[in-house]
Symmetry: C2
C-alpha cells in the first residue's frame, strides 16, 4: 500500500503538502492550462500539455479532483473556485519566470539549449 507510506508529505505543514501535490509531473501544468484555456476534455489536455501519458494525466486529474482544485462536468474538465484561487497565486510566478528566463538566457546564452538546468557537466572546480 504505497498510498499511505511513501508520499506521506514528509511534513504536516500544509505548504509541504501542497508542494507534494504540485511537485509532480504535469500537476501545475494541468492546473495552469485549465485556468488559462478554459474547460478542456481529456484529450484536449493531452494535446495542450504536450502529449502527456493518459495514465499520468488521469492520475494528476484524480489528485487534483481530490484536492478540490478541479472538477469534471459534461463539458469536460474545468478549474473549480479553489483551483482558480491557487492559480491566482501562481500568476505572479508566470510574470517573474519571464524576467528570470531572460536573465538566465543573457547570463549563459550558449548553455540554454533545452532546460538549462540539467547541465551535462560543471567541471572546472573552484
Amino acid at each position: 500500500m504505497p498510498e499511505l507510506s511513501v508520499r506521506g508529505s514528509r511534513s504536516r505543514k500544509p505548504i509541504m503538502v501542497l508542494f507534494d501535490l504540485l511537485g509532480r509531473r504535469w500537476a501545475m501544468g494541468v492546473l495552469w492550462t485549465l485556468c488559462t484555456s478554459g474547460p478542456c476534455t481529456f484529450r484536449d489536455l493531452q494535446d495542450q500539455c504536450g502529449s502527456v501519458s493518459p495514465s499520468v494525466l488521469n492520475a494528476r486529474l484524480k489528485e487534483l479532483r481530490n484536492a478540490k482544485l478541479i472538477g469534471h462536468s459534461g463539458q469536460g474538465y474545468h478549474a473549480e473556485p479553489l483551483g482558480f484561487e491557487l492559480h491566482e497565486r501562481l500568476v505572479p510566478l508566470g510574470a517573474w519566470s519571464r524576467s528570470w528566463a531572460a536573465l538566465l538566457a543573457s547570463d549563459a546564452p550558449e548553455a540554454r539549449h533545452e532546460t538549462a538546468f540539467t547541465q551535462p557537466d560543471r567541471s572546472s572546480g573552484s
Copy 2:
C-alpha cells in the same frame, strides 16, 4: 545524454520551464527551507527536509544552482537574490495552503490520513 532530450520543458514558455524545474521532488521544499531557515549545510538540508536521499538532494542543489536560485559559500548553502524573489512569490501559496488544508480537512475529515490525494483504492476489490 538524458540532459537534452527527456525533460525538454515540453514548452518554450518560461512558466512551463519553471514548472519543470520546481515540479521535481524536493525542489520547492529545498528552496523554501533555505529561505525560511537561513543558510544550511548539506546535512542540515537532509535533516530538515525529512531525510532526502543525498543523490536527489545533490541533484536538486545542482539544478537550483544552475538556475541561479541558490548558492554555496563557506557557510553552506543559501538562497540568492533570485531565489528570494521566487520565494516571495511562493509565500502567498503558504498562506493559501493553510485555508485550503483546513477546508479539505473539514470536507473529508476521515480521509485525510496522509496525503489526502492518493486515494487508497477506487476499483472495487476483485
